[in-house]
Amino acid sequence: MTLRRLATYSAALVIGAWVAFPLLLITLAAFTPRDVLYRWPRQIWPERFTLDTILFFVRSTGVLPSTWNSVLVAGMTIALAFLLSAPAGYALARYRFRGRDAVQLAILATKMFPATVLSIPLAVAFIRWGLYDTLLGVSIVHTALSIPFVTVIITSVFVGVSYELEEAAMTLGTSRLQAFLRVTLPMALPGLAAAAIFTFVLSWNEVFAATILTLNNRTLPALILNSVVAAGAPLHYRFAGGFFMVVPALIIIFLIRRYLLTLWGVTVR
C-alpha cells in the first residue's frame, strides 16, 4: 500500500515538474538582464533580476497597441459568440425538438474545421467586404472558431440550472422571459462567466487567422509572430514576449479552474 502510494506521488511529482519547469524557466529568462542571456558560460540563476527585458519588450514598436487590439478583439468575440450561441444553447438545453441531435452534431462538427482552412479564403473575401485588417474581421473569425465551444458550454450550464425553478416562477405569474431573466440567468451566471473567460483565452491565443487577416492592426500574437518571422526579433524580445503572453492565460486558467472539466468534458460528449 505504501509502495503504491510512493509510486503515485513520485509519478505525480515528475509529471508536475515536467509541466511547471519550462514555465519557471521562461519567467526566469524574462527577468534576467539582457547581457546574461547572451553570455557564455550562461548563468542559470542571474545575480540580479531586472525589469529591463520586459520593459524593452513592452516599449517595442507596436506592442502596447497590439495588446490593446488583442483585448478589443477578445471582447468583441465574447460579445458576438454569446449573442449567437446563448439562444442556441438555451434551446438545446430546454427544448426537445425534431433535429436537435443533428443541430448538436453540426455545431460540434465545425470544431473539426481548422482555422487554417477558413483564414485564407476569408482574407480574400474580407478585402472585398472592407473587413481586411480590421479588428472586427479578426473577431468575426474568432467567433466562428469559438461558437462550437461556447454553445456546448452554455447548453451544459442551462442543463445544470433546474427547469422546475423556471416553471415555478412562471406559475407564479411571470412570463417566460422574466422567468429566464430573474431566475435562470442569475443561477447560470458563474458558468457563463467561465465560458466568457475561456472564449477570451481562445481569442487571446489565436495566431494563424490573426496573422493572415491583419497587416497594420496586429493582435499581440500576430505581432510577435511577424517580428519573429519577418524582422528576426532578438532573443530577449522573444522570451519577454512569451512570458507576457503566458501570464494572463495562467491567471485566467486559475480563475476558471473549477470549470475546466466541465468546459472540456461536456464539450466533448
Binding site: I15, I44, A249
Partner: protein, 294 residues
C-alpha cells in the same frame, strides 16, 4: 418525465421557438464556415478568369518544400499524438486515484490549455536555443565547454525532437482533461464489481476502465490529430522554415509569395487530410467494436 410534461404542455405556437433560437448560430456558421470552405476549394481550382484549372495544385506539388512539408507534418503527428494520448492517459488515471493533492496536480497539468502554440514555442526556444537553458545546465554540470547549436538544419533530429517535445508539453493537457472527464462518467459500481470479483488494479484498468473510456479516447485522438495537421507557430518559432509543415507553407504562400490560390490549395489539402483521418479513426474503432462483440 419533466421533458415529457413540457412537450405535452407546450402550445403549438411554441414549437418554432427552438428553431428560431438556433437560427442565428446556423446562419453565422453558414456564412463563416461553409462559405469560406467552398471558397477555398473554388480559389484553389480556378484561374483569375473563373476557368477550372489544376495549375495551383501543380505549383503546390512542384514546390521544393511540398514533399518535406507533407513528410514532416505526418511524422510529427505520428510521433506526438500517441505520446500525448499515452501521457494524457497516465495523468488521467493518476488523477482518478484521488490521491491527496490530486486537484492541485490536475490544475498544474491543465495549465498548458491556456498557453498558445506561439507562447509554447517561445518557452521551449528559451531552453533549446544556443545560449538556452539546456546548454546552461549541461555547462553547469561540466559536460560542455562550448555551447551546442541544437536548432540548426544540420541536426534535423534535434529540430524535430524540440518540436515534438513542445507539442507534447502543450497539448497533453487537452487530452488529459477529456480523459478525466470521461473517467468521471464511468459509474463507480463497475469498479466495485470488478474488485468484488477479485480483479487487481491493473486488471480493472485494462478490462473495465479502458473499454469504457474508448469514446473519450476516440475524441481525444481525432481532436489532437486534426490539430496536429494545423501545426504552425510552434514550428515557426523553433525551426523557422527549416522544418516545413503544411499550415506553415499555406502561410508562406499567402504572405510571402502573395498567392492566395496556392495557399488555398494547401488549406484544401489540410481539410482533406483531416476528413480522411477522422473517417479512418471512426472506421477502425468501430470495426474493432464489431469484432469484440462477435
Amino acid at each position: 418525465m419533466a421533458d415529457a410534461e413540457r412537450t405535452r404542455a407546450s402550445p403549438r405556437a411554441r414549437d418554432w421557438t427552438p428553431y428560431l433560437l438556433v437560427l442565428p448560430t446556423f446562419a453565422y456558421l453558414g456564412i463563416f464556415f461553409v462559405y469560406p470552405m467552398a471558397q477555398a476549394v473554388w480559389l484553389s481550382l480556378t484561374d483569375p478568369h473563373g476557368q477550372l484549372t489544376l495549375e495551383h495544385f501543380r505549383r503546390m506539388v512542384g514546390d521544393l518544400y511540398f514533399s518535406q512539408a507533407i513528410r514532416y507534418t505526418l511524422l510529427i503527428t505520428a510521433v506526438a499524438v500517441p505520446l500525448q494520448v499515452g501521457l494524457g492517459l497516465v495523468i488521467a488515471l493518476l488523477v482518478n486515484t484521488r490521491f491527496r493533492g490530486h486537484s492541485l496536480f490536475l490544475y498544474v497539468c491543465a495549465v498548458p490549455i491556456g498557453i498558445s502554440d506561439l507562447a509554447a514555442g517561445l518557452i521551449w526556444l528559451s531552453i533549446f536555443t544556443e545560449r538556452g537553458y539546456l546548454n546552461a545546465f549541461l555547462g553547469a554540470a561540466g559536460l560542455l565547454q562550448q555551447p551546442l547549436t541544437f536548432l540548426t538544419y544540420e541536426r534535423p533530429e534535434w529540430l524535430l525532437g524540440a518540436i515534438i517535445l513542445t507539442e507534447v508539453w502543450r497539448a497533453t493537457a487537452i487530452v488529459m482533461v477529456i480523459l478525466v472527464a470521461g473517467l468521471q462518467l464511468i459509474p463507480k459500481d463497475y469498479l466495485e464489481t470488478a474488485q468484488v470479483f477479485g480483479a487487481g488494479r491493473w486488471q480493472t484498468a485494462r478490462h473495465v476502465l479502458l473499454p469504457l473510456l474508448k469514446p473519450s479516447l476516440q475524441t481525444a485522438l481525432i481532436i489532437r490529430t486534426i490539430l496536429a495537421f494545423q501545426l504552425f507557430a510552434t514550428v515557426i518559432t523553433l525551426a523557422g522554415r527549416l522544418v516545413p509543415v503544411l499550415a506553415g507553407e499555406s502561410y508562406f504562400w499567402y504572405s510571402l509569395y502573395r498567392s492566395p490560390q496556392v495557399a488555398s490549395a494547401y488549406a484544401v489539402l489540410i481539410l482533406g487530410l483531416s476528413s480522411a483521418i477522422t473517417w479512418v479513426y471512426l472506421r477502425l474503432l468501430r470495426q474493432r467494436e464489431v469484432e469484440a462483440t462477435a
